[in-house]
């Protein structure tokens, strides 16, 4: 079907396609060509990542490895795909393809025409970075790609300046915090490099294991170096992930960015951050050092995650802009993911991985529904959504279905992840965390209901502009994501198969 030669090159092509096509967009993307090139790149990448995930799941060792420039493993950059990053890769590629389809009309109404080809070039660079972070097996390469995606993200957020000038301050805020986070990651990688002398993640993990044996006997300074490095890394990644006390950049960045950018960021950027955390904690540093060493990191994460769930949901209730409600809800949902990987058991990790995917679908779809509102109304204030349920039946129906997913109603994808999460919390003996998850769901009922009530039972103001349902190119990707979130809530076999395989490989259980 696919020639072997091409199949072998897929890992490199997944990152190179958006990079090269992004450059071509910047060069010749005028006159509306930009979107077509971006769409082509997204579809190619999506097809490639599905093929790659299939390869990974059917290879005996659950890994596919690609050597850049054919340099042997510890010296060159290795692209290494296992079920975890194969799954995240597919999530990022799926969301990117859907949001790119959505972006055509939405972005054209928010970004000035002569800037459109730059927008799509940066859009593709952002995808390059996100896909690269996910696929690479080299710690420093991860940092560089993280910065590529972050720089692209700051620019994309700033492009919301045409509709609301606060996009600019949100972008600079995000830039300052994001750069500090990235610098911490750089410093953390430096410490680990000092100890191990290698940058390849698997090699680093092996050498750290060899060092751990000597802990408590000779050379205790290694212990300090590893833990300091891990601390820097963890704080840096948490900034990128927007884990609770470090989330302050997120609400404004999501609110004032163009609608398509909000959908892309909410569904992919923080998810990739979660992936980096899982990768560093489980694969590289190892849970023995990270959780059971001198610093009980998992307790910190659990406290942060618990606060994120409760305060994020509470703050979401108090907002008057629906985009901000979703942004604060994202903070709470990131709390669920963080809680999942802090539990340190198979069900918890499965919950984290599966929630990365499920929440990406749900939030991506919901932000697109709000994109339709912004496209038709020009803003997303709650009072302006009154009675829109009858005017925009499809989009508001999708929004409601997504909202049910955020609550975790059975037969939606959110229920599957929360089921795993509560099981994992009880298994780990953390009953208070299970309780917090349930309380968080109740709070989610409140903030979702507040919007749903306004949409369906509110009365439209007299003389409010008449609005129509959005064009088909905006409805299709939205329904695709929301439909998928319901499909994977009913039939969770595929997603839980991949997520459980990811959890098993991370915990070192032989498949």
């Amino acid at each position: 079907m696919i020639p072997d030669q091409l199949q072998h090159q897929i890992p490199a092509l997944i990152v190179l396609t958006p990079l090269v096509l992004g450059l071509i967009t910047a060069l010749i993307g005028r006159r509306g060509l930009g979107w077509w090139i971006a769409m082509l790149a997204s579809l190619l990448v999506f097809a490639g990542s599905i093929q790659l995930l299939i390869d990974v799941m059917h290879s005996g060792t659950y890994t596919v490895s690609y050597l850049m420039g054919n340099w042997p493993v510890p010296y060159g950059i290795e692209y290494r795909i296992d079920p975890l990053n194969g799954g995240v890769l597919c999530t990022v590629a799926l969301i990117s393809a859907a949001v790119t389809l959505f972006a055509r009309r939405s972005v054209a109404s928010e970004v000035s025409r002569d800037r459109l080809h730059f927008f799509y070039a940066v859009w593709l660079f952002c995808q390059t970075g996100l896909l690269g972070i996910t696929i690479t097996g080299d710690a420093f390469n991860l940092y560089v790609l993280l910065e590529i995606s972050s720089l692209a993200t700051y620019t994309l957020v700033a492009m919301g300046k045409g509709r609301d000038r606060r996009a600019l301050t949100a972008a600079i805020n995000y830039l300052v915090l994001g750069t500090i986070g990235a610098s911490f990651i750089l410093l953390g990688i430096g410490f680990l490099y000092m100890v191990t002398g290698t940058l390849n993640m698997m090699d680093m993990a092996e050498r750290l294991d060899a060092i751990y044996i000597t802990w408590g006997t000779a050379e205790p300074q290694y212990q300090k170096t590893v833990l300091t490095g891990f601390a820097f890394l963890f704080v840096g990644v948490s900034l990128k992930l927007a884990l609770f006390p470090l989330h302050t950049w997120l609400p404004n960045a999501y609110t004032y960015a163009p609608a398509a950018v909000s959908a892309l960021l909410a569904a992919t950027a923080t998810k990739v951050g979660a992936y980096i955390s899982i990768r560093f904690i489980y694969t590289i540093v190892g849970t023995d050092a990270a959780f059971r060493g001198a610093i009980p990191t998992h307790v910190f994460i659990m406290v942060s995650a618990g606060m994120a769930i409760l305060l994020g949901s509470y703050l979401a209730i108090k907002q008057d802009n629906v985009k901000k409600i979703l942004a604060y809800s994202s903070i709470a949902q990131i709390g669920y993911i963080a809680l999942g990987f802090a539990l340190d058991n198979k069900n918890g990790l499965t919950a984290a991985v599966i929630h990365i995917f499920n929440h990406a679908l749900t939030k991506g779809g919901m932000f697109m529904a709000l994109g339709v509102v912004a496209y038709r109304l020009g803003n997303t204030r709650l009072q302006d959504l009154r009675g829109l349920g009858r005017k925009l039946p499809v989009s508001m129906g999708a929004f409601t279905a997504g909202g049910l997913g955020l609550i975790g109603v059975p037969l939606t994808a959110g229920f599957v992840s929360k089921w795993y999460l509560v099981t994992g919390a009880i298994e780990a003996g953390r009953y208070e965390m299970a309780a917090i998850v349930l309380v968080g769901s109740l709070l989610a009922v409140v903030y979702v209901w507040r919007v749903v009530e306004t949409i369906y039972f509110g009365k439209r103001d007299e003389g409010a502009p008449n609005v129509q349902e959005a064009p088909i190119t905006m409805l299709v990707p939205m329904l695709l994501l929301i439909g998928a979130s319901i499909y994977f809530g009913v039939d969770a076999n595929t997603t839980s198969w991949i997520a459980e395989a990811a959890a098993e490989t991370l915990l070192g259980v032989q498949p």
Binding site: Q9, L16, L19, V20, L23, L27, Y66, L67, M68, G69
Partner: protein, 160 residues
């Protein structure tokens, strides 16, 4: 600033040497310290000096925006092109052995040289683009510079 004789003369003398030195660093890169990044920045520094002395618009006149845009993209495409060439011939991305399969070790410097030329082109073009981006929209050349040194205005005095 172009009315200041000292600056103008020094710049006129220095810029050619900066650019030539940049080219030296570029061509010498695979044998000694140097390479595309450094060379690109040094070459760009020459042009930026020109832009600062004679005004950003004058710089844009000799190197229009579209030249730097295309140069920046072409540099990356050279880099990626070397990689794709290897891919097309059944090697891994950027495996320079593809350039000369008979003598893989001898092909390595060739691959590196090509890649570094791509890097140099991009870095130089991007540095100039950044300069253009930041100076664009600001008042065109000739910011108020007081040439009457005996009677300095408030702007020329060191801020306390």
């Amino acid at each position: 600033m172009k009315d200041l004789v000292v600056l103008r003369v020094v710049a006129r003398w220095n810029i050619p040497f900066m650019v030539v030195f940049g080219l030296y660093v570029q061509t010498h890169g695979e044998l000694g310290p140097g390479g595309g990044f450094q060379a690109g920045v040094i070459i760009a520094a020459g042009f930026l000096l020109y832009g600062m002395i004679f005004g950003a618009q004058e710089l844009r006149r000799i190197i229009p925006r579209w030249v730097t845009d295309i140069a920046a993209a072409c540099g990356v495409l050279i880099y990626a092109g070397v990689g794709f060439w290897a891919m097309g011939n059944g090697y891994e991305f950027l495996d320079h052995a593809a350039l000369n399969p008979a003598n893989p070790g001898g092909a390595e410097p060739w691959g590196m040289t090509l890649v570094e030329y791509g890097v140099g082109l991009t870095v130089a073009a991007v540095m100039i683009t950044i300069f253009n981006e930041i100076t664009e929209g600001t008042a065109p050349e000739d910011e108020p510079v007081n040439k009457d040194y005996d009677n300095p205005t408030e702007m020329d005095l060191p801020r306390r």
